[in-house]
Symmetry: C2
Amino acid sequence: MSHTGLTSGLPAWSTDPGELARVSVDRSGVAPDGLPDLVVFAQSVRDVRRTVSYAASRGVPVVPRGAGSGVAGGAVAGAGEIVLDLSGLDRIADLRPDDALAVVEPGVITADLDAAAHPHGLRYAPDPASAAFSTIGGNIATNAGGLRCVKYGVTRDAVLAVDAVLGDGSLVSTGRRTVKGVTGYDLTGLLVGSEGTLGVVVGATLRLSPLPTTTATAAAFFATADDAVAAVTSLQRRGLRPSTAELLDQATLRAIDDAQGTALHTRGEVFLLLQTDGYGAEAELAEAERLLRPSATHLETTTDPETAARLVAVRRAALPAVERYGRVLIEDIAVPRSRIAESITAVGDIARRTGVRIVVFAHAGDGNLHPIVVADSAPPERVDEAVAAIFEHALAVGGTLTGEHGVGTLKRPWLADELGEPVLDLHRRLKSVFDPAGILNPGKAIR
Amino acid sequence: MSHTGLTSGLPAWSTDPGELARVSVDRSGVAPDGLPDLVVFAQSVRDVRRTVSYAASRGVPVVPRGAGSGVAGGAVAGAGEIVLDLSGLDRIADLRPDDALAVVEPGVITADLDAAAHPHGLRYAPDPASAAFSTIGGNIATNAGGLRCVKYGVTRDAVLAVDAVLGDGSLVSTGRRTVKGVTGYDLTGLLVGSEGTLGVVVGATLRLSPLPTTTATAAAFFATADDAVAAVTSLQRRGLRPSTAELLDQATLRAIDDAQGTALHTRGEVFLLLQTDGYGAEAELAEAERLLRPSATHLETTTDPETAARLVAVRRAALPAVERYGRVLIEDIAVPRSRIAESITAVGDIARRTGVRIVVFAHAGDGNLHPIVVADSAPPERVDEAVAAIFEHALAVGGTLTGEHGVGTLKRPWLADELGEPVLDLHRRLKSVFDPAGILNPGKAIR
């Protein structure tokens, strides 16, 4: 379709097939159905409003896009759709140390905001693994988590207010600059995690938090997932509040060993990276050591930053190591805390049964598991079978399809199984209030 | 109106004028317009569904009610309305220490849940001042805060899932039993704080958190509000995370002195009660002492529970002491952290200008101020003028009408000033999705 009615006067847009191909995909591996019609590189809120108004009047779907770093297909765009690229809206408009908040545009890179806060003794707490290249807008769209959200909360907990362009092109401001507030419904929280289906976030007021004074780190290995999870549970029940509690299974350790020539997998079946921070960091770690020691097959603790960096590097090496096996699907189930060990075991069973190579990373403190499925390790129907089995397991133990990545396009088939039809229908009616023409990222997040 | 169509077969209801008068008011002092038609004492989810369905079919407003402890008029019911009393739904249905969660009915008293968690080393973190008599359902309706929410979050942060009866009598379940999850929109967060206007909460899954190992306490006095607030800010900027940071102004100290025969007001203009907890409690308090010492006119610190209880008692004595002056209106503005001192001063100025007796309590860590207005200390028009001036001040400094009590009926006149008409209209359209007949607590929270 020709979109001259929109593009005349727009400062930046493209119909170049190479550009369109680039902006039609994210990191999910989902293939779009043809190329989108057009990409608009928004330079202003006005550009966003104009694009959405145009799309609403013509019934053309708009797919908002930040860095394209999503892993669930939330930003995939195909034929007949307009991509609305927000990466050019990348200003930190205000940073107020005394109020511990920042006002940003959606295209700001997450790590850049964090870095901008550091000179003030502050940080932006949510730290998705993609922080170095994902945008705040994308983080808001998916309610991104990260390693330290077990202590400091997910993206929703950091978003105080948003400016959003609704599906009719109108601009609304929700929320406030105060930490607390209950005037009106929580529209801010509703927009967070809505994957661009309720509004296009064009600005956000974000909470910053103090940089911790001290960080202490432990690396432990255990003979079984049960032992490792029991250890984490025992810490939490003793009132410890780790800032990081990451598990890697033995298949992941083998991948890292293959990549690095190390022998981590000989130390145990499961690796636990634990960090504590703040004024109690060392006392907490000492208590953690006492609790982990009896069941750990190997245990190392440190407050030395260099040694800590070496231990943290094991966790960071995990995904690149697994990616050497081929293209990966990063799954993202979350389960009740008491079911974590059983879920790690279940994923291992699914891998064996289907012949698909799957490794597991887990944010153990909050029950969020990332089964990493190597897509080319088995025939496609086997991979589909494995992924379906993982979702079915999550729902069977009272868990959820996605802890922090979003539903996107990939998880829609299981949506009704988790939410139930009546609640899904409520979602649809809610969307129609925000987006009467149904043009905001249709077919994503809900169905 | 006769409601025999509803009451036939209902196990418990009343049209007794005494009962109706009792359930027609809350602690706001708002006088209802006549007596409600009927009160239904729900014994089951079925009773709730039946009452709401009946009301929807007849277009009769339903006012959900817990303990009636609200202070904004959210549970006030008048002629032509049905009161739906949920206090009989008071079971803790499940408490799972390994998952750190509890499943409760809405009528459970907040402090009872907290107490039930203690033997497991857990607690229910939100601690509104009303915890001893308010219900979880009421806490959810207003997104209640409390003293320790500066560190542990407000009610919304503790609610993982709810069961709610919508305005058509249908029952929906939102949320999940996992800490993290982004499947679908955050309907749970939307229902929290909606003051019974979107659905009647009939069940909730709540997050529990570990009881802190250690608590340390400081009581400090300062010559000015500026000094006190600057001290709190300096703590937060040093990365301290106090679990309590309560300010009382000198007018409050005088009220306490009058009631108790003490001489607290001679120690300074402003009192700060500070608590730290967890593994770093003592290290944090030592650092706090170092930071407070230069500007404090009086400073006392302790880790001894009995001494701490004596210091905490000062804060607890505040409201009863002020209530000796007469009936009070408990206001609840929140302002950006950097504007707290100025707001305390502004309230003092308003009191002097209008001749109304007003004292101030503040949750200083999160900028939530409670100006306590003594209703009978001046002519009604003066009191109205003072209250209006407080709200206008809050909005002028980028704050909000209500930090944790809700809008109820009392704050509706200022609602559009804070939210703006377009956002308020969005609220109305959103409500119509959940409550097409407009019968759920109409005229409250939004307008």
